[in-house]
Symmetry: C2
Subunit: 142 residues, 2 copies
DNA sequence: GTGGATGCTCAAGCCGACTTGAGGTCAAGG
DNA sequence: CCTTGACCTCAAGTCGGCTTGAGCATCCAC
């Protein structure tokens, strides 16, 4: 049964709903294992689709490609362990993000009720709605 | 009283806690009005500090520099109006951000309880914790 | 056997908000 | 007079996650 290893890059891309370039890119950066070549062309099997889905989920969960790569490495210790460490590292960040976002929401709500003619006297701008540095990146609608 | 217009760029930067380069950059992109020059060197008055604070607040509230520039333009219509429009435009986005972030938090919490050896069977990766595209950028700790 | 779709590699571009670097000017103090 | 340090301009680099483009090779249907 040589039934595996027969998808070409375009088919995989179509099936996964991504661009061809993304597959090549993921291979470059080590998120996908180097696909076997048939006269220079990549061949993929179905497991690639699962892997792409995994990457997608992980990415939506806020993991960077670097973190995902570490997670996917067929590694020394089991997934559960690395996942736990990762999650514990990231939870404080996401919690901070949430509370910052909530403060921003309040600020925006207050802004809808602003009646000041200029910023000079507007109390909205008197103090930061957020304590410290990081500029809340909401990744505005695509 | 020619007491205004006497701070040099370094003093302003120190007072505001920013880099000198930021002041020049803000001038370039139109966030600060061109400072008057004395033999080529910029001179600032105290209002600049307020303006920098305003920009800071606005930025932390998730506004882009472009949006802030629009807001600051000594414009046709009063601040309150532009601010309202802006806030109404941005509120849905921030609300979406919050709910996405909350879902991510749940995912991470679930992840701490994961016991799977590999990603292949791990239900955590079966479906996206987030519906659509935008990759939640938490602006990880500086 | 041929032409259009599909594949390849490698380099460069994009976004936003800045910083860094090269190379030059200017005023003041010793 | 000379050095020091603060200032100047303009170009390019940074980061992450990709895409786009140029210039070829390969595959498949007719």
């Amino acid at each position: 049964m040589e039934a595996r290893g027969e998808m070409r890059i375009g088919e995989v891309a179509r099936a996964a709903g991504v661009r061809v370039s993304l597959l090549r890119y993921y291979e470059d950066v080590g998120l996908l294992p180097p696909a076997p070549r048939v006269s220079g062309q990549r061949r993929y099997d179905a497991s690639t689709l699962r892997r792409l889905a995994v990457i997608d989920v992980a990415q939506r969960a806020g993991l960077s490609l670097d973190e995902i790569r570490d997670l996917l490495e067929i590694g020394t210790d089991p997934l559960s362990e690395r996942l736990q460490q990762l999650a514990e590292r990231k939870l404080p960040a996401i919690e901070a993000l949430i509370s910052r976002a909530e403060r921003v929401r309040s600020w925006l709500e207050a802004a809808t009720r602003c009646e000041c003619p200029t910023v000079d006297d507007c109390a909205l701008f008197d103090e930061p709605p957020l304590p410290a540095a990081p500029p809340l990146r909401a990744t505005p609608a695509a």
